[in-house]
Amino acid sequence: MGRLFEGSRPGVCYLLLDDQGLLEHQEHSPISLPKGVYEVIRQREYEPRQDRYVVD
């Protein structure tokens, strides 16, 4: 089981995996992740007014 926590920095959250997990996405092959804590950073793009997060 995995739990996602919001971080204090913008665009950053933390994934806690109690056991091995599988990250699935329609745009690439599944990624196997071992048990552990992961820092998940949302990729951003530059905008003249404000940065925008990449929709993935």
């Binding site: 690439h28 092959s29 950073i41 990729q43 793009e45 530059y46 905008e47 003249p48 007014r49 929709v55």
Partner: protein, 314 residues
């Protein structure tokens, strides 16, 4: 509307209007209000400001005593950001671009649905027991009935409809890549990409955009939307750009028009292969201050190049 508007006038101590006239869009309403103002001796009632002053006094004094300023401000701020900044301000800006002579007229409008932020906060505070907010109740009913912008004159009230189309991105900004982001029953519409009002052609025919048009666009936010709609890869190819820097993280492209902010794009390979084994190439728009592909990619992850040293990418 024809029942609610007179009740609102009465609740505030005004004589109800002789007639309530409805229009399909803020544009039609603004034009009608302008004509009406020119032909009437009675002024627009400052209904909106009167009710807001009364309610604000009640809410501020009562809520401060019970809930504290932080909770009240938090409610206002959240609702204001969601509704006012994206809807009311965008509609106002679009109207002014089409009808600049109505500048003063627009300032007198009551906003109906777009007063939803503070109306919703009144409703919330009323439900938790704050008393004395009854003047706002008919207004809430008007907003619930779907009234858009409206102009309360002495003898006539001009009321417009709520939008028939409203599309937003995940960050709640006006956005639609298939049609107008905001549209009214009479066809008046706003085209927008991620909160930026854009010409209709950007949405309906982006491939017709030329490199010259994009580079010469003075509004950087619209230029950014043009780049995205045309496609970064197509733009790089059309402009004949060559990488200014390349490393294991990607390739950095740059176009420097001199008269305005440069355009910088970084081309990267997706860290994870596709199911067929190939790796997807994609571009990201980055600040024009970056000098290397490594620095550009690091920036997209909120990091500097020294911090961005991945062992494995996926």
């Amino acid at each position: 509307m024809r029942r609610i508007v007179p009740a609102l006038y009465s609740a505030l101590g005004f004589q109800p209007p002789d007639s309530v006239i409805t229009f399909d869009s803020p544009r039609e309403g603004a034009l009608a209000a302008d004509s009406t103002a020119a032909g009437l001796t009675s002024k627009l009632h400052a209904i909106r400001e009167k009710i807001k002053r009364h309610v604000r006094r009640r809410v501020c004094s009562s809520v401060r005593a019970k809930v504290r300023d932080e909770a009240r401000d938090c409610v206002h701020q959240e609702l204001r950001q969601q509704v006012r900044h994206q809807l009311r301000d965008q509609i106002q800006a679009h109207l002014l671009s089409e009808l600049p002579h109505l500048f003063f007229n627009l300032g007198d409008a009551a906003f109906g649905l777009h007063d939803a932020p503070w109306l919703a906060s009144c409703d919330f505070f009323s439900r938790i027991g704050i008393e004395g907010l009854s003047p706002a109740l008919p207004w809430m009913e008007l907003a619930r009935a779907g009234a858009g912008w409206w102009w309360p004159f002495g003898s006539v009230a001009i009321v417009t409809s709520a939008p028939s189309v409203l599309e937003r991105d995940p960050e709640n900004r006006l956005h639609c890549e298939r049609g107008p982001a905001l549209a009214y029953p009479d066809g008046w519409a706003i085209w927008a990409i991620h909160g930026v009002r854009v010409p209709k052609r950007l949405v309906t025919n982006p491939r017709s955009l030329s490199v010259e048009e994009i580079v010469h666009e003075p509004d950087l936010a619209i230029r950014r939307a043009m780049l995205e709609r045309l496609g970064y890869e197509r733009f790089v190819r059309k402009a004949g750009l060559k990488p200014v820097h390349a490393d294991r993280f990607g390739r950095l492209y740059r176009l420097d028009p001199h008269w305005t902010e440069p355009i910088a794009l970084v081309e990267v390979l997706n860290g994870t292969p596709e199911p067929n084994g190939s790796r997807r190439r994609y571009f990201l728009c980055v600040p024009p201050t970056v000098r290397t592909a490594h620095e550009a990619v690091a920036w997209t992850f909120h990091l500097g190049p020294k911090e961005y040293q991945p062992d494995v990418e996926s």
